[in-house]
């Protein structure tokens, strides 16, 4: 675990203005060869752009097929769910409205950043009572946690 932690800390340490860049956007291949020359190490560090270059709805379509995810397509991003969610008030990384949108649009780097927070959902159901579009966000959180676990989060970038 300690080694893992260290690796995380050292990630992208050669990048000037490192604090501008999210962890998820730094790619450091263990071994990199170009034209027969070994480029491993700092020369191989890649910073992926923040710009969204693709909309990919494959994960979203998968969520729609899960038992409690079926109504997710009705969401219009009003934020009523987040407004009443006790967990969202305690931890800004958990936001049911936001989770639904990034999954809908397939923003992979964002998904990687926040997907593990989906398990913070307490299952209290306040959101589903408040949602004006009958999306059942509480159920959607369950569906999302299943989708993320089964590796379906690995759509396109």
């Amino acid at each position: 675990m300690a080694a893992e932690e260290r690796k995380k800390e050292e990630k992208g340490r050669f990048i000037a203005e490192r604090r501008y860049v999210d962890d998820q956007r730094i790619v450091e291949p263990e071994k990199l060869e170009a034209g027969g020359v070994d480029m491993s190490g700092r020369w191989g560090t890649l910073v992926l752009p923040r710009t969204i270059e693709e909309f990919d709805h494959s994960l979203f379509e998968g969520v729609k097929r899960l038992p409690r995810g079926g109504k997710v397509g009705k969401c219009w991003q009003c934020g009523n769910c987040t407004a009443v969610c006790p967990v969202a008030h305690a931890n800004p990384m958990f936001n049911p409205r936001y989770l639904i949108h990034i999954v809908r649009m397939g923003y992979q780097a964002e998904i990687e950043k926040v997907k593990d927070y989906v398990y913070l959902c307490s299952g209290c159901g306040l959101c589903s009572a408040a949602c004006p579009k009958d999306v059942d966000p509480q159920g959607v959180m369950i569906a999302l946690s299943i989708a993320f676990k089964s590796g379906r989060a690995k759509g396109g970038r």
Partner: protein, 347 residues
């Protein structure tokens, strides 16, 4: 004294006023600048009307048919009003046929101005590449494609991914600051029709706010819930033609995310603005324009009242509005003209 009412403009508002007055027993002189009655819905070949997908002919056909055939309505197409003298109850107007230059003189009891609007010309705003890149079209042009049942790009192929950009030439200091009120609903109606026509197409609505007012809201709900149309909140900064596809640059403001995504077709929700016809009619009739170039009623809450006795207003020459509102305004203006007739023509 004369029992005739002059109606300037043969769009939905003017036609409705003419039909009501003729039904009421008045003679109508209907002057239309173009060679065709029907206004924007006929000129741009609208496939159907929001909010209920009513075929355009169902709404416009009876009005046009009536005016073309009724002995009570004298239609002057390709014509404009050139002069207007006199006062309420007895105006003398000159009507000039623009094709042959001939002028006729008529005596009328009152005047209804229904000169309508023009679509915003998107080539004025270079951001959207309209007129420079292929497959960037306006909602006005898409209507005709939908009507034909053939939605294709310049290469003849149906698009797989389409972006609608809302508020083009609306709500923007550099062009027109007002809201065109109908283009959200019209764009959504078209997105649904595009899905119905093409089936296999991804549609993205890039919007700042969705203003589907009143009962038009159903369009918005259905587009999401029944047709899986995607919504991205933001405003587009640039459309760039790569030689093959259209790169659309904007921000998804729900995630703080700038995007640059490729599309096959971009549809611009071009707004409503006052056209040269409205300016011409206002000039001849001595009516005031507001800061935007629409005709200013005496009092903004009472559209029919032009501020000049015996001259009444109806429709989009006053402000942007839908056809359902335009038609009611035509009837309301006809009522004012009827009141003048009752007072001045011997009963």
């Amino acid at each position: 004294m004369t029992g005739t009412v002059l109606v300037v403009g043969g769009g939905p508002a003017g036609l409705r006023a003419a039909v009501d007055l003729a039904d009421f027993g008045a003679r109508v002189l209907l002057v239309e600048k173009r060679d065709q009655l029907g206004g924007a819905p006929v000129r741009w070949k609208y496939r159907s009307l929001a909010p209920d997908f009513t075929p355009t002919e169902e709404v416009m056909g009876p009005l046009i048919g009536f005016c073309e055939s009724s002995p009570m309505v004298e239609v002057h197409k390709g014509s404009v009003v050139e002069g207007c003298e006199g006062s309420v109850g007895d105006f003398t107007v000159k009507v000039r046929n623009e094709a042959d230059g001939t002028t006729t003189e008529h005596r009328v009891s009152s005047v209804i101005v229904a000169t309508g609007f023009e679509h915003f010309d998107a080539s004025v705003d270079p951001r959207y590449a309209y007129g420079r890149a292929p497959n960037v079209i306006g909602i006005n042009e898409l209507e005709a494609m939908l009507k034909e049942g053939r939605v294709v790009g310049h290469d003849g192929r149906p698009p797989k991914r389409v972006a609608f950009i809302f508020c083009v030439g609306s709500r923007d200091r550099s062009t027109n600051p007002w809201c065109c009120t109908v283009c959200c609903g019209v764009s959504i109606k078209q997105a649904i029709e595009m899905k119905q026509t093409l089936g296999d197409v991804q549609v993205y609505m890039i919007y700042m706010d969705i203003r589907t007012v009143g009962l038009w809201e159903k369009l918005y709900w259905d587009s999401m819930e029944k047709y899986g149309i995607n919504y991205i909140r933001g405003r587009v900064g640039e459309v760039y033609y790569t030689g093959e596809k259209l790169l659309v640059k904007g921000e998804d403001t729900l995630v703080r995310g700038p995007f640059e995504v490729l599309f096959d077709m971009v549809v611009l929700a071009v707004g409503i603005e006052p056209g040269p016809g409205t300016k011409q009619a206002a000039g001849v009739l001595g009516l005031k324009l507001n800061e935007y170039g629409f005709i200013a009623p005496r009092q903004p809450n009472v559209h029919v009242d032009s501020g000049r006795d015996g001259i009444f207003l109806a429709g989009t020459c006053i402000a942007p509005m839908s056809i359902e509102e335009t038609l009611s305004e035509g009837s309301a203006a006809a009522m004012q003209a009827a009141k003048v007739l009752k007072k001045t023509v011997a009963v």
